[in-house]
């Protein structure tokens, strides 16, 4: 993409910060090697459009180019939660798993991508490369070091991104979530309203998530009536995964609660059977209130799961 095009996209984004021009702009900057600028564009895009898979996909690709494997994995996993059939995310995860020597995972992601796009010859070539590595590895795992397939896959990612950029974008505006239960989609659904009476107000939310970050019960309704439970759950469930990993090395036993404060909300999480209970409350609702709601919601979830078993 020429500099003039980048300038035009930048101007479009400056004129309308909610524009989806950040996707082709970030991609163009990434291809040009302006990774730090591309990262800022992608981060702002994700913040403004948290429910858009292509925003997270852009951030994942920029992170991968910056060598931030952890973030790229997180973002591509988010893409798959938002759009389970997303071929670009499968390819990206295939690439990073290959880089990490997780050959079985790489093969699984690439196979899924190939199943979705069987005409893609270079994708099948990449899968063959991974399978050949797997065959060579034998019984003892060996960390993959070659960069050849990375470049092959990177080209594929760029091709997929170009195709996406060419598509007509659907303009969906998604502002920062503002908690509120004014409108109540799914109000008749027992699972979605399971914790409503515990919240004692209209600026907090409670959700029960399974081990994959999918919502089992509860809801997160914004002030304008949208239920963002799936998105919020998918994003925040990763924190509990990280805590679980940390606890294996710290010698403090199992984790029982995570609490953190952000600009917009106080969040509390606790393990619940095989999943996680999550409570979020808009600031400045006190942290102590959030923890109390969490404890009561955990009891409610336990009863509900018991009844469901």
């Amino acid at each position: 993409m020429a500099s003039d095009d980048i300038r035009a996209l930048s101007e479009e984004l400056a004129a309308d910060p909610a524009s989806l021009a950040f996707v082709p702009l970030g991609e163009a900057l990434r291809r040009r090697g302006d990774l730090e600028v591309a990262l800022r564009v992608a981060l702002r895009g994700v913040e403004r459009h948290p429910t858009r898979a292509d925003a997270h996909d852009l951030l994942a690709r920029v992170a991968a180019d910056l060598g931030d494997v952890e973030r790229s994995i997180t973002e591509w996993e988010t893409v798959l939660r938002l759009a389970p059939g997303h071929v670009g995310a499968r390819k990206g995860l295939g690439f990073v798993c290959f880089q990490l020597g997780r050959l079985e995972d790489a093969a699984a992601h690439l196979s899924a991508a190939l199943a979705a796009d069987p005409e893609d010859g270079s994708l099948s070539a990449a899968l063959q490369t991974v399978q050949a590595e797997l065959a060579q590895r034998g019984p003892s795992p060996v960390r993959a070091t070659t960069q050849v397939s990375r470049h092959a896959l990177a080209e594929e990612l760029e091709a997929a991104a170009a195709a996406r950029a060419a598509l007509t974008e659907q303009h969906v505006r998604a502002a920062r979530p503002t908690l509120g239960l004014a409108a109540a989609p799914g109000a008749d659904d027992d699972a979605s309203t399971l914790f409503d009476d515990l919240l004692e107000g209209q600026r907090s939310a409670a959700m029960l998530l399974d081990s994959d970050g999918l919502v089992l019960a509860g809801r997160y309704v914004t002030a304008d009536g949208r239920d963002l439970a799936a998105l919020i759950g998918a994003q925040l469930s990763g924190v509990s995964d990280e805590a679980g990993r940390a606890m294996r090395h710290l010698g403090l036993g199992a984790w029982t609660q995570i609490v953190f404060e952000t600009e917009a909300a106080s969040v509390a999480m606790a393990p619940s059977r095989e999943g996680v209970m999550l409570v979020a409350a808009a600031r400045p609702i006190p942290l102590g209130f959030v923890r109390r709601v969490l404890e009561r919601a955990l009891q409610r979830a336990s009863q509900w799961l018991g009844e469901g078993a």
């Binding site: 997180t74 979530p177 994003q235 606890m247 710290l250 403090l252 995570i258």
Partner: protein, 115 residues
Amino acid sequence: MSTAFAPLTESLIRHRGVLGAMVVGLDDGLIVHSTLQIGVNGNAFAALTASLYRKARRSSNAAGFGATGFLELAAEQGRVCTAGGKELVLVVVCESRVNVGLLRVELLRAAEQLP
């Protein structure tokens, strides 16, 4: 060895139930300065807590909640509390009995002095 961060960690370690206080690089998880009781594995707490904080920060941003301030991880046999600046975070390792409310206030106040 005393550094510019010594007053921060020393003010935190005085709290009842606090076993260690560290200033840690957010990106690399390495200790910049620490005041630890004997037997506390500072390196492990620093690395893993910085990683958890990074994860919470990214997840919070992605969820649209904005920047992360105070974070507490409670476990069966203790707690870890952290709060940070852009480059460094303060990590406090403590027993379960610690007064979290008081520690939170001190931690946030101390974190304001981090770059």
